[in-house]
Symmetry: D2
Subunit: 364 residues, 4 copies
């Protein structure tokens, strides 16, 4: 991946939305090194307008968390690793939506842990964006408090198709990535996912204009997103669970229930990642990480719960994760930043069409 | 609390160590506003020397996590709130100790979740401190890797006596504080604990020269600590779970099992704290916090697991937690900083005696 | 369903095995009321012979827990209920196999909750059956203890296709049934499953010659099984989670993690089932069940954990679950028992072919 | 213990009630072999009358789950085992009380796992006993359903003082026994508890006239109980967790959170118990138990959750747990049954006084 690649743009029509990881036909085939600029709808399929105050009557429960994709990565085989570098994330609407969904969320009983109590009420909060200031405004529903918050875009979902022939709802985070809901999935991050099926079949969606750790109420500030990413492929070396890399951090992501098990998956993976990279004994890595990691909860509301365990590169000896592919992708992203491209918040005025470049071909 | 208080110093003799929260006679009575400068032993009762490589034969399992205290706060009654402001934490030894304790820790089966597998080996890591550089050195046991890490002192334990007549092991974190093992218990933090018994009976210990989130292997870089703190008292207003305040953050601390429940306790408390401070409806607080909190794991290895949920003051409207007592204590701490006092790493040469000032009296 | 139906026999060839719930083409279409007599392979695809002592080198990890089916039930639509009455379960081999699978089971760390400890060893136990005495013999691997145990056949799995387009590994128990691993799935039980896709697409497998509660080591006494069942259909009334009925018991089955949540799903469902059947207020049902249910763990080793909550019909007022379909199916089963049919333990000598009766047709 | 011992009777006055395990002075000292006949109050300290419909205004939250005891067992030292054989349990009132306690129970959020939902209502159900028929009557609160249920008396709590100087609320089940809430604690059962402090300091209470598995709503049919028991002492051999023995079963009891960990404690202990008794290798015991145990939930509502894992003696080779002490105590109980003693339901007419026999002496 040496030349700046042409940018492949893709925006799905609503009937192209995928609501599962696995189980959907690819919308495009891309070669490793392709720059993709894709639009993704929000978790509610844009059913909630800027004046809405409730989900009921608007939201189609069969159409939540639509995914853009899947994309077939040419040459990707089971056991390989796809590296997806997030170049930019641009909110594609001038408001975000959050909501309390009855029987869903962190401070309520749920369908997975039912009680006999009444559910919390169905309530919507609209966050209007001020693009000039890169901010949004929270407005209380029961009083006149307003709070200005920074826009900090991230993706709730980034996934490959699952292993063992499984097809999972787009609400699920797991080994294949998915609905991880971690704020670390932001511009500047490279995500490593182990390939389970030919072509990897990666997809993304669930744009969040911002989110706190744990996604407490079950929804972030949800909105359509234009994501520019570079996809690359490493032969073999599939991680057991998603790994993230930023300029400053190495991160392992664990999903499971309860959170202790999610944490074990992440901490165990990070210890083994350090072991591979530094030649440390696993018990020495266990010890070192015990003193230096950060471990924020990603989500405590999805079918699996997710924890990220992060170590600062500054605290450990120099290392070259995945042969420095993050550094190379970062440089490619920097070159991209110098290329002009239309950046528009309103997808209505953004004619993102289902184009094909010379480096991609339509999948069957 | 207006005048700089005289500093009351206290260092327990080994037979004054408390190994429980509750159940021990107070070692001193202090008035609200007292500045305490206390020495606490490390979690191993200093049984591990700088040349030791294993715990077996050294560690007395009946003497772990010794507490300095308890201190009786004059006038504290059930339902009141003690505010403990940590002014400085000074490592009181030139090395820290960490270890894998068989059947204890995060990436192993434990006595609370036993399996039929062999335990991990008993292994000690010694971290030598370089006071001039405020750093310490990690050395691998199975290779010759060495890593220099910053000293970032914190207290593993800070507690009042439990409610309902309970006495808990000093290994336990819970509503009364205790073995929270959160890096937020560092200099500059004010800790609010609800009083359960007359005099509150607070104690502290388990100094860590640094610790990663979750205290993965079960032990931090353990060492004796000299803690300077100011203790104050607010009538009533006992929080349901420990609360922390720094210049920048409001933090609720939840302990329980599994981590989901610990998180619920913390998130629920922080939502209600915001509700009280801002007059927000609880559902509006739930929504706002969902988008702005940070939620790092404190520990996943103790009898309860602990999570901290933190909100940046910069992201919310101005508020006055506990009538700005943190600001007042912070100022008093600043004044203290200008007072000369001996700061010595080696307790052997630090004649901290069981002194009494005019503002304290020996408890019966 | 009034006449004794002709018996439709089916035995899959190995390349007809399904390893997922959902995602497989139906092998047969059956009308409601059909009696099926089907052979299912064991959880190891018969890879373990009577003289084997280890799994390694024998077991293909991509071929575990094969399912017989799926069967398309004519007329079944989403929201309907399939009622599957287990008439007889006949062990189809003269030995059963159990094993410790490294990183799988209840008293070990697992891939879902990894530690740094060594795994338990790969070990196989062979249980030889004595058909005349309906018994089998446990033989210790490390001493010469032998214990004769009754044969008590049950099915580990019984499922319909999942909802929301999901496809799940045949190792998973959930709302659609699946790898429940409950000893209540034995002859005489009627299982009610909510239909998610046209035709329901039910399948079964994972025969156990016996199993303790919780399936502690991860495997029961596994063996091929000949299952005779009657499948029936109720329009609408899909339960939220699998329900079982025997002559004596009503049972709700909950699957999730941790076990508390599995229990909540089951207990909540049973309370609502009583509410529907008796016209009880849900809080009155909650109270009554609190004093009378039995709640054995089904499994604590699968991707979800499963609990059964059972109430004795003798302890509650007379009721007619699903319009007494269990009673009708039971009578039909009794009539079947009077019909002669070959009952052979050895499938080699049992020419079960992929036959079609006039009441079934080959699916496309 | 050869002679039928004199029966020592004890009924505490309300100010003698203990509300903790540990932390209370013994009420009596008894020698091993003593037969005790003791009265215990119900979990509500008899605050709920037969015409009450709500707890509020009646129940003192500081006085729940009162214990009768503790009793000092002469000669009991740390590491020893007390064997307590339950001879008879007699309901000591003509009605039992159950209730939904807001923020407590299994199908509700709780103070340990709070949500923002409204609590369930405070509601009381009264069960009137019909001693002649050994039955009680459930009456719905929201309709006119009535159900006659058998009286099946059991003790919710049986405990020794905890280890490590801890004092625990009488609501807690743990290694020391306590609020196990298992229906196996009924007449005919011998309970083995490891001694942590000199004299063992055992206590009992929380009589249930019947209870379903898991104690779903948080309360059983609560009532005062007259318990006749024989206490005995074995030197050494303290089990790691409570063990129960009946004529038919060996049972290990695990308490923890989540239920998976409670199960691990119980299953691990039972495997090791079999290992000791039969000379089986632990992995062989693990295998055998996997196929034969029953594992009902005891409680899912207390500060720890409890599971019992039981193996039928009929399924395993003959063994002599604790040197057949259960058989000897059973015989002694049979001899007792032939002795006349007053059996009265109404404690008002039962002059149980704080008597001392020649075999006991008043503790200091």
């Amino acid at each position: 991946m040496t030349d700046p690649a042409p940018i492949v743009e893709f925006r799905p029509t609503p009937n192209q939305y995928a609501f599962t990881f696995g189980g959907a036909e690819p919308v495009l085939t891309v070669t490793p090194g392709t720059v993709l600029r894709v639009w993704s709808d929000d978790a509610f399929c844009s059913a909630i307008g800027p004046d809405d105050s409730h989900l009921a009557g608007r939201l189609d429960p069969a159409r939540v968390n639509p995914q853009t994709g899947p994309f077939h990565v040419e040459g990707a085989e089971r056991g390989d690793t796809v590296a997806i570098h997030l170049v930019t994330l641009e909110p594609a609407r001038d408001y975000g939506v959050s909501a309390i969904v009855p029987h869903f969320g962190g401070l309520t009983s749920t369908t997975d842990a039912p009680t006999l109590q009444d559910p919390l009420p169905d309530l919507v909060w609209i966050y209007h964006l001020d693009p000039a200031r890169q901010s949004m405004t929270y407005r209380a529903r029961h009083s006149d408090h307003a709070v200005r918050l920074p826009v900090e875009p991230m993706l709730g979902t980034l996934a490959v198709a699952p292993a063992a022939g499984e097809v999972r709802s787009s609400l699920v985070p797991d080994r294949f990535g998915g609905n991880l809901d971690t704020p670390f999935l932001r511009a500047g991050t490279t995500c490593y996912l182990g390939v389970n099926v030919p072509g990897a079949l990666f997809s993304l969606g669930d744009g969040h204009y911002r989110q706190g750790d744990a996604e407490a109420c079950g929804t972030a500030v949800e909105g359509p997103m234009i994501t520019t990413l570079i996809v690359d492929l490493l032969k073999g070396r599939a991680p057991a669970t998603p790994r993230l890399e930023t300029d400053d951090l190495l991160i392992s992501v664990g999903s499971g229930r309860p959170l202790e098990d999610a944490w074990r998956i992440a901490q165990h993976d990070l210890a083994h990642w350090l072991t591979e990279l530094l030649g440390l004994h696993p018990l020495d890595a266990y010890q070192l990480l015990s003193q230096i990691v950060r471990a924020p909860i990603a989500n405590v509301v999805d079918p699996n719960h997710t924890i990220t365990v992060a170590v600062a590169k500054a605290l450990i000896p120099p290392l070259q994760p995945y042969d420095d592919i993050h550094i190379r992708l970062r440089r490619a992203a920097d070159r991209l930043a110098k290329q002009p491209h239309p950046s528009q918040i309103h997808p209505r005025t953004n004619p993102m069409t289902d184009t094909r470049s010379s480096r991609t071909r339509r999948s069957r």
